[in-house]
Amino acid sequence: MADATLAIERPAPRPRIPEWVEAILVRLAGIVAALLVCAVLLLLQGYHPLLAYADMAVGAFGSRFAIEQTLLKAIPLMLTTLGVTLTFTAGLWNIGAEGQLTIGALAAAWLALNHPSLPALVLLPGMVLLGLLGGALWALVPAVPRAYVGMNEVISTLLLNYVALLVVDYLVFGSWADPTAFNFPYSPAFSDTARLPMLFGDVHLGLVFALAATVVVAAALGHTPWGYEIRTSGASPGAARYAGMPVTRNILVAMAASGALSGLAGMAEVSGMIFRVQQGLSPGYGYSAIIIAWLAKLNPWAAVPVAILFAGLLNGGFALQTSKVPAAITYMIQAAILFLVVAGESLLARVRRARAAAAQKAALGGAR
């Protein structure tokens, strides 16, 4: 018996493939499988899947203009992804990035519409601040009851997305409506001082915000005591509480920071690309962010290329509309990727369990 115990402690043989390579392979396989599933659906609807995918690729990365548009859409995707990454790491299901983005955009737009003549050096930092604040406050609405009475945050954050969209409707059909626009539902255009400077082509300063936020979030999660607390809370809230970590406060801080990042995304959208408030401020960035964060395994650095890939997918979908294929194909592909990668990961976990069991058995057998 003593021999057997010793045998278990012997280090297990290293797996042939490192785990991170396995993770990437599972993701690539999931993407290919999702494209195959959606190809079948395209075929059934009478479209040519190869032509459609070729059009999507060209629309996403096929020209200088396409690449610029893809980078432009990667900005809000990166920021919202960082936001949900923070909460998912803390074990909180913040599904409300879409609404937090929207309210951040509205808060920033409030300043732009009410004080259009302020100099850019005052107006833009003010809009950034309000965007951060708007998103954070909107995220605190579900976070406070989650922290203090354990209210389910999945449903509450999601329902608040619908409320946020109606707030936009309320404003653009009401007091923010452009008086010169014949009742079209949008606000007047922002003044030039309320617009973010361009870096190159159509790509605005928001790209710098997104990359800077990536560095900050990666550092905060990986290299600070707070990040360690957040990760512990996510892995085991009981252990975090037992260790004396301020679990309630960390829920509030993680949710607020997450909302602030999405709010910044909203600010960058209205100030860098749309230049007014209108319906449909976001084509579902906050939902794509959930998928991107998951595919990136909650790693802020890995989220950058995945966000660019998904931005390309989004642009490719828009490019398809000219050939009559519904743009919804993009959302279908995105969700199918998540679904199939979750399946792949679960299969992989099962294989690893079996491998570990076999290794243990072999070790025990060897001891006899």
Partner: protein, 307 residues
Amino acid sequence: MSEDQLVRLLAATIAMGTPLVFAAFGEILAESSGVLNLGVEGMMLVGAVAAFIAVVVTGSPWLGVVAGMLGAGALAAGHALLTVTLRADQVTAGLALALFGGGLSSFLGKSYIGVPNPAPFAAISVPGLSQLPILGRSVFTQDALVYVSYVMIPLGWWWLYRTRPGLHLRACGESPGTADAMGIGVVAIRYASVIVGGMFAGLGGAYLSLAYVPAWTENLTAGLGWIALALVIFATWNPLRLVFGAYLFGSVEAMGFRAQVLGIQANTIVLRMMPYVATLTVMLLLAFWRRRLAMPSALGLPYSREQ
């Protein structure tokens, strides 16, 4: 308020509550067996669009119902495969299902936007009963699917709480290990509950495109699937309490649509926010009262004999 107005308000309350009754009952089945399925919104949307396409193609609303239930059931089968067999995280898998259903329904329904429903379910007056004042006139002048819901709820409650198969289903959600030791097929029951539950979500969606609206537009459900999920907590997994909650939300929704008729001067956009705000308020109150204690003990946990 005149009697006619009251009748119209009550009738609209029931009609608006019906998709929630169907969808939340389906989720009660799945959750009672221990599987959380957050994909209700996606399953409802797929059910709605599949039902609508079927009624446009075949001209038969009942074939529409079948198509809606099968479409949503197929999605639910995917969730069961992921969560029961592969033991994936139920929240992630459910979110994937909700998003996939949303995309799939928009994709399939694109060319059906603006197409009129050739054979919507129409209101049928029950002879005799519909002559009764106020309640009779509102409860018994509804379409066929609402009458289905009247029968389904007491039957569903009786099946779940008073029969052996219902007990087995709940045993899988309370203590799958014990259920397994008793010789109950946990995997089979969880599969069946998730799939049948999904079919009811599809029926809820089909009700919207076949009877309530009755047409297809993108994102037709507008969050009803998520409200249904909140209702399951409100109902403490009991189909009878569910009816109360569903009609409560139906009345909030109905008042939004009927406000002008009732002479209430309010912004229509603010009224459209009310169902979401009401749901959030109720969730908050429930969280204070800790009603989650009634939750099936093994909800959200994958079951494996090895562990």
